[in-house]
């Protein structure tokens, strides 16, 4: 058999049928749901008098709308409350397993899934959420879908798909101390552009990738979508397997052994061909900071915002101007001189235990700077929060002046009460710096947890390699 990429294997193993034009019916092993993109899908099922095809593949959790402050009295915003209650009701009516808001396992869907072992190598995983690409870190084919497809998967356990192309991003060598997976992916997006991955499944490979923890790999694959690719992938290795051992939904005992020997086959064959390949040297990657309104508008911490003279075309000049106007920044500004108002450590990109540990290291024994109006940590799940508290990280953050919150999406997209006021500037560990993303008129700079924490203490961006 010809050498295959990991994506080729996953695709082939899930084909239910294929037409001559390449349109295929692909089987879905795991369907994750949250409250924002599912209500209309359930309504569709009811209207057509249809039932879920295979109940046990579905797992739901509310995350986008949940408050991150005291939840004992429920959600005060009536519109958010209705959406979460609608998820509760839909899951109860159709018999779908849901982790409700006040369960300790509740969290951002892309944190909860892997944590529970509901994300396994070799699966196809979908969710009505573009950051489903996160789960590709486990050697699974995972991508976001719209609400019509949520309904399609519920009703048929399949999706109508066309095969993507293969891209490999190889990161050789080792990262400098203080440089993380977040910096790799931001540097990649800076190189590739936000549409550079369109039409591809991106496999991340190379020494710098396979030495990353699962948390780091999830951060990488999470932002494949910001490079335009629906799916990111990392092939299975010992680190993948060790992460999954004894997770609640992972196979146990004899079946575990059987699963592991299958999982070990989930790697791209030697000599397989990729349609596009990019090679980076990890040693040259500096901590990254976005300065504009698209994730590709990014610069190294020791760099500067571009100038109009550096732009090649009129369109580029126009978009630079628009972005800088919105961000209220001048061309040529040094990245480390940008002052901040708020700091947000959280989101499905960077809210796992390792992220919190990295941030805490910068915070320990310090106080947040005077110009920082609010610095908050929002753990990715109740279990991450509990683990962090066991390690005393909550105290480290609180003593420095950070707020320590309940898990959820929070100020990643500001659907709940956590948001920026117009004009406020935020260092954020999330994944999107679009206009208004963290609150209307708010200005977002995307960074790693270490960079966000160090910025909270200094009041502006600093180079975490220089400690």
């Amino acid at each position: 058999m010809a050498a295959q990429t990991l994506y080729d294997k996953l695709w082939q193993q899930h084909l239910v049928s294929e037409q001559e034009d390449g349109t295929a019916l692909l089987y879905i092993d795991r369907h994750l749901l949250h409250e924002v993109t599912s209500p209309q899908a359930f309504e569709g099922l009811r209207l057509a008098n249809r039932k879920p095809w295979r109940l046990e593949t579905n797992l739901a959790v509310p995350d986008h709308n949940v408050p991150t402050t005291d939840r004992s009295r429920g959600i005060s915003d009536p519109v958010s409350r209705l959406q979460v209650e609608t998820l509760d009701k839909n899951c109860a009516d159709f018999g779908i397993t849901e982790i409700p808001m006040n369960d300790i396992r509740q969290g951002i869907v892309h944190v909860m899934g892997p944590e529970q072992g509901a994300t396994l190598p070799g699966m196809t995983i979908v969710c009505g959420d573009s950051h489903t690409s996160t789960h590709g870190a486990f050697g699974a084919l995972a991508h976001g879908i719209g609400t019509s497809e949520v309904e399609h998967v519920l009703a048929t356990q399949c999706l109508i798909q066309k095969k993507m192309k293969n891209m490999r991003i190889k990161v050789d060598g080792q990262l400098a101390v203080g440089v993380t997976a977040k910096d790799i992916i931001l540097a990649v997006i800076g190189e590739l552009g936000t549409a550079g991955g369109t039409g591809y499944a991106i496999e991340f490979d190379g020494e710098a990738i396979h030495t990353l923890s699962m948390e780091g790999r999830m951060t990488l694959c999470n932002m494949a979508i910001e490079a335009g690719a629906r799916a990111g992938l990392v092939s299975v290795d010992e680190i993948t397997i060790e992460y999954l051992r004894d997770r609640p939904y992972a196979p146990q005992g004899e079946v575990w052994e059987q699963a592991v020997s299958y999982w070990r086959t989930l790697v791209s064959d030697e000599n397989c061909e990729f349609d596009k390949e990019i090679v980076l040297d990890a040693g040259t990657i500096a901590p990254q900071v976005t300065w504009g309104t698209s994730p590709e508008m990014v610069a190294p911490i020791d760099g500067a915002i571009p100038t109009y003279e550096q732009m090649q075309t009129d369109a580029e000049r126009k978009s630079l101007q628009r972005a800088l106007e919105y961000m209220s920044l001048a061309p040529g500004t040094r990245v480390n001189s940008i002052p901040l108002d708020k700091v947000f450590i959280g989101s499905c990109t960077n809210s796992r235990i390792e992220d919190l540990r990295q941030a805490a290291r910068w915070v320990a024994g310090n106080k947040i700077a005077e110009n920082i109006k609010l610095a908050m940590v929002v753990p990715g799940s109740g279990l991450v929060k509990a683990q962090a508290e066991k390690e005393g990280l909550d105290k480290v953050f609180k003593e420095a002046g950070f707020e320590w919150r309940e898990p959820g999406c929070s100020m990643c997209l500001a659907m709940n009460a956590d948001r920026l006021a117009p004009g406020e500037r935020c260092a954020s560990t999330s994944n999107r710096n679009f206009e208004g993303r963290q609150g209307q008129g708010g200005r977002t700079h995307l960074v790693s947890p270490a960079m966000a924490a160090a910025a909270a203490i200094a009041g502006h961006f600093v180079d975490v390699r220089e400690a």
């Binding site: 239910v16 049928s17 019916l25 089987y27 092993d29 924002v36 993109t37 209500p39 209309q40 309504e43 057509a48 109940l55 046990e56 593949t57 797992l59 986008h64 519109v79 958010s80 209705l82 959406q83 609608t86 018999g95 397993t97 509901a118 396994l120 070799g122 009505g128 959420d129 573009s130 991508h143 976001g144 879908i145 719209g146 609400t147 019509s148 497809e149 399609h152 009703a155 048929t156 356990q157 399949c158 109508i160 549409a195 369109t198 335009g228 629906r230 939904y249 575990w256 059987q258 699963a259 698209s294 369109a315 978009s319 997209l413 500001a414 659907m415 999107r432 679009f434 208004g436 209307q440």
Partner: protein, 217 residues
């Protein structure tokens, strides 16, 4: 699914690259549990000067007269002309729902983000990809000619300009058929129920841990 065969309408130009789904429909409106009613909030942050929340009377908000949607010459537009990577960002189908609710049935750009592109077809919206020169040319023509309209014939995969010039466009056959016939995709897939079951029983042998008892995941 809504059908679309032929379409003619006023063209509204949106001269920005990388228009994301947060710009198309901001997050506060995603709290709705319906598919309709998003029209007044299409491009909300650009369209209004004051902030809006679900349940507000949006007709009372202050309009940003600079924004194309508020200019009289583009009233009633049903064709949107945009730049590269339109619809990037989230998977929210609320983005095509908002466009549809505001009357747009045809979108033209040099590229679209994948999930958004796919979501359009599920809602009877035709996203057309044209090369950058043609898009540039269309921008120039729309700006020069108030009331500029385009006519689209999906079966022929053609756009007809006011001067009679015809532009051909590409699109995958299965998407075209689904839109032309307004197919119920779920119904079609369910016709293959036997194939799906056959796949499942084969898979159950190979990866039994994915087929535990119901509720057990």
């Amino acid at each position: 699914m809504k059908k679309l065969t032929e379409w003619q309408g006023i063209v509204m130009p949106l001269d920005r690259a990388n228009v994301d789904t947060d710009a198309i429909i901001p997050k506060q409106y995603l709290k709705s549990i319906k598919r309709t009613g998003f029209g007044p909030n299409l491009f909300d942050d650009w369209r209004y000067l004051d902030p809006g929340e679900p349940g507000d009377d949006h007709s009372k908000r202050r309009l940003n007269t600079e924004f194309v949607m508020n200019q009289s010459r583009y009233q009633g537009a049903t064709v949107l002309l945009a730049r590269e990577n339109f619809g990037c960002g989230s998977s929210r189908e609320h983005a095509p729902w908002a466009l549809l609710d505001a009357g747009f049935r045809v979108l033209i750009a040099s590229s679209f983000a994948e999930i958004f592109y796919n979501n359009c077809f599920k809602n009877g919206i035709l996203p057309i990809v044209l090369n950058e020169e043609i898009v540039e040319q269309l921008f120039a023509e729309v700006l020069a000619d108030p009331g500029y309209e385009l006519a689209v014939d999906l079966a022929k995969q053609q756009i007809c300009k006011p001067d009679g010039e015809v532009v051909n466009f590409q699109l995958e056959e299965f998407r075209k058929q689904a839109l032309l016939e307004g197919l119920d995709e779920i119904g079609l897939t369910l016709q293959k129920a036997d194939l799906i079951r056959a796949y499942e029983s084969k898979r159950r042998q190979q990866v039994p841990w994915l087929f535990n008892a119901p509720g057990d995941i």
